[in-house]
Amino acid sequence: MATRERRGKRRRPDLVPPKVERIPPRSGLSRAEVIANQRLRIFEGLAVALVHHGYEDTKITDIVELSGVSRATFYERFESKEACFAAAYEDGVERLAAAVEAAAEGERGWAWCLSVGLATGLDFLAVDPALAHLLLVEALAAARPARLEYERSLVRLAEALRPPAELPGGERVPEETVRLLAGGLASHLSGRVLAGEADSLGEDHDLLLAYLLAPSLAANARVAAG
């Protein structure tokens, strides 16, 4: 396929293009692998564009330029900016969840799982501030379906944060409380990302752990007090 000639100047020539490498022609890779690579490049291009332009002002042109794919390829993969955002959001959440679950798996004790999972999640976001921005800031600025998707991830986060019933005494932290906890956690992270501090999120581990454990500790204290 002939590369399309790019017209005009890039809106932001200073922006660093994503780090996913292009697959050279005749690489011997399967069609599926090429498509997966294109999707990743588009997602990264989108994330970088969002940091600089915000959701509303990000154009397909920005995404295409930063991803190094042709406009035609973009439209083969996604029908619109909204669809591209939804796919990128889902991909980011799945990768974050997979990293956290893999790290917490095999750890003994709920609180310890929480601590390890939290540390992993914070690191995941800290090494990719553009993705952190997409997941925590732009998801709320995007169109309504994206916001509902964001709400669904908060519910999922809340489920992960809910202590198991078999904690000492079997006292269960109410579902509403863990949803509130998840909202506070997301709001805190988004505030740090907005302030340009995504790369130092790891420093918040102890604060966040104490915050997330507070209701469970209280529930246990109630049991201990009889």
């Binding site: 915000g54 509130l180 909202g183 506070g184 956690l185 709001s187 805190h188 302030a195 104490a210 915050y211």
Partner: protein
Amino acid sequence: MRGLPPADAEPERFEPGELIDLPPELALGQLPGGRHGLPRPFVERHQRLRLIAAMLRVLPRHGYPATTIGHVTEEAGVSRSAFYGQFEGKEECFLATYDLAAEWLCERVEGTVAADEQWSSRVSAGISLALRLLAANPALAHLIAVEALQAGAAARRRRQACITRLAGVLRAGRPRRPDLHADLEELLVGGVFAHIARYVDAGRTERLSDATAELVHFLLIPYLDPGETKRIADQAA
């Protein structure tokens, strides 16, 4: 609880158009045309507040991204050139609206809280009042909790500043315990904001007061004995 008005009292309305001392017959309407003899700064302030009031009313209809300056000027009954005399564009008008609304809400919460002696009853009174005010002013709730996330980076920073300010209210006089982190309150208030956004998004803004007990519980549980927390939360409901 001294700071808390009786639960059946009508909650105050946020009406930016009434924030200026006007004769009542003029308060919400247009100023008389022609040579009314009103001083210039007065007229300008009046226009500004009418534009802000209009922005507040049109936002829930269209959402920030689809709201146009035309929507605002038409709603306000103010000319486009008068709009540009006040604001550079839509975003600046939005930010002015947010500032006025956040100030109005925070002032009221701070006022209620100042009247109570006990920290835990202050928290309970503050959150109860905030929820009642937001339920009675759905456009305000929409602006503060939802629209501010969609109106660009400056608006999101304003929202964050509002969280920080209310976190300061929660922090003042909290139980002294060495294990309590200095920034815990921002997290708690952030959780409350997310909860309010959920109500607004679900079209349940008018029912926000239903969340009083669970929010009081959420705000107090890191600090107090669970039995005490439950007692205060139940009382607030």
